[in-house]
Amino acid sequence: MTKWKEGFSSLALAAAILGAITTTVLADAGELHIYNWTDYTSDEMIKKFEAETGIKVTIDTYDSNETALAKLSSGAAGYDVMIISNDFVPIFVKQKLFQEVDAGAMPNFKNVDPKWQHRPWDPDAKYTVPWVWGTTSYSVDTAVYKGPTDSLKPLFDPPAELKGKVGMFGSPTEVISLALVYLGKDQCNSNPADLKELDALLEAQKPFVKVYNSDGIVERQVAGETVMHEQWSGKALATRQQKSTIKYVYPKEGAVGWMDNVAVPTTAPNLDNAKKFLNFLMDPENIALQQKYTGYQSAIAGSNKLLAPDIGGSPEFNPPADLKITFAPSCDEKAIRAYDRIWTNLRQ
């Protein structure tokens, strides 16, 4: 009995020492706390980062840009990197919630596609590196709709046969952004004449709209419930893989773009690890793992080649070079209220 006890205690001691050693090793490499959208971080990519650097990664999530902003501006510390939409980058920078990391000078920055090296929300790449991005336009079932597919006109001014067959997003800003691109007007518009035109356009479109909902679009399109639907490029690809007659339209008026970016909060406890992670993400091999997980485009040259050819080489992932892509900034209160009014009256 005593022998057994002795044996047990020495085993426990050995385990404790072993544990102490491993934790010291990990503590040496340190930690990295990521703050990201829910279900938006690839496990495979994080495991690779941990294996290469020995840094232990912890992930915390949020569900909207507003939540993330509220949390950080209330003084929450402890995050080393966070992922945030293009429209919110200037707000964070203006409130001094991000610190300069000079991403443009990092070794892997040369991998960033030249057209994304100078992004309007961070022109000199002082604060952020790109995460993933995509375009917003619409997809249409060409087996049912035989008309032209080179413009936003069929979506906003549909032919009679599409009455009750069109789907739009459920979010006012995304519907209005695309409508403003169609009208050729400025984003975040508070010009009364433009707003009246916008209002009239959406009111006239309403009888053709079956549903305003951003969820379950792939299903609706595959089941044929909607012939035409406002859509993101990544989801449009997923739809076409299930129904080959679906086409994602690149309109001559342009499309709306969105990009999520990786930045370092001012309060980051592990600045060096954060910089390592930013540099890591600009390697095509690493961001490709993230792309595989979320199904969106990356801004790193060469990463598409590492994906399956029917995804990396798809038209949805490779917009034409001459496509005009409008990135909508976050609007001021006046425009938000006007949008809200149009959106409520539309659905009163």
């Binding site: 909207s64 507003e66 707000i91 459920g170 549903v211 909902n213 209220r337 409520t344 659905r347």
Partner: protein, 289 residues
């Protein structure tokens, strides 16, 4: 038991009600008198703007104009909640009565069946209705197969489908309270009524209904209150084409970033529900006298 011990025993319950119910309620009322922060949240100064917004809106050129949009949305929500309550009552009463008339063994099975839907998440159950009602769904498929229709019926994305979703979700809240009152009816009362030559209709009207009323009233409030604020069924089954107050509130706290107006809307919902409660308890008291 001394008064001290009594207080001690009540304290945990009071604390829970205070922290999780009364405090948020006051917070909501307080927020409704504040100014909206551009990125969500509220700031000083205090104003009545949120309440003004119910009837007046700033036009695109910033002038204040009368606008019935919000009033219409609130009226539609109240109308749908009342319709849900009436339909639940009409469907729930016979079901409860039927269960009461069974043997104890079968009663248990039937009661279990009534509560069975609660075992599955409401979102999933509501989504299943989409699969049933949509153009290529089960209902239209069956009708087409039977040769009754050739083009699909527009079953989804209208007021009818919203109503269906609400009735489906809240029916158990009507059946259970009515059942619990009917269960206590002395069957001899009904026998006596029959002995005195009362027909089935008279038995229902003069014996069953008066005794079932407290349960029906409890059920009605249990159905009306959540139906008024519900936003799952309206959003999914209504296709988002027509706003109801639940979705409107949710919108104010997210994309519209107008927390004071969202708080004002919730306050209105609370006031409507409380009014219904007060009227109900007054009537119950009057009947007791």
């Amino acid at each position: 038991m001394g008064p001290n011990r009594t207080w001690l025993l009540i304290a945990p319950a009071m604390l829970v009600i205070g922290v999780f119910m009364v405090l948020p309620l006051f917070l909501a009322v307080g927020y409704s008198f504040m100014t909206a922060n551009p990125y969500g949240g509220v700031t000083a100064p205090a104003t009545f703007d949120a309440y003004l917004q119910f009837l007046y809106q700033r036009d695109f050129d910033d002038s204040l104009v009368f606008s019935p949009s919000y009033a219409l949305i609130i009226l539609r929500s109240v109308y749908l909640a009342i319709a849900t309550t009436i339909i639940c009552l009409v469907l729930g009463l016979p079901v409860a009565w039927y269960i009461v008339c069974q043997t104890p063994e079968r009663r248990r099975i039937l009661l279990f069946a009534v509560t069975l839907p609660f075992w599955i998440n409401t979102l999933i159950r509501t989504y299943c209705w989409i699969l049933i009602l949509r153009d290529e769904g089960l209902a239209n498929g069956a009708l087409r197969h039977a040769g009754i229709i050739s083009d699909p019926l527009p079953l989804l994305y209208n007021d009818g489908s919203i109503l269906l979703g609400l009735v489906y979700t809240f029916l158990p809240f009507m059946v259970l309270p009515i059942y619990s009152t009917l269960e206590r009816i002395d069957p001899r009362l009904i026998e006596a009524a029959h002995d005195l030559y009362a027909g089935r209709a008279a038995v229902f009207r003069r014996i069953v209904w008066p005794l079932a009323r407290p349960g029906a009233l409890a059920g009605a409030t249990l159905v009306f209150a959540p139906a008024l604020g519900s936003f799952l069924a309206p959003d999914l089954l209504g296709g988002g084409k027509k706003l109801l107050i639940g979705s409107l509130i949710q919108m104010q706290f997210t994309s519209s970033r107008n927390w004071p107006f969202g708080a004002a809307l919730s306050t209105v919902v609370t006031v409507v529900v409380l009014t219904v409660f007060v009227i109900r308890s007054r009537r119950v008291e009057e009947e007791r006298r």
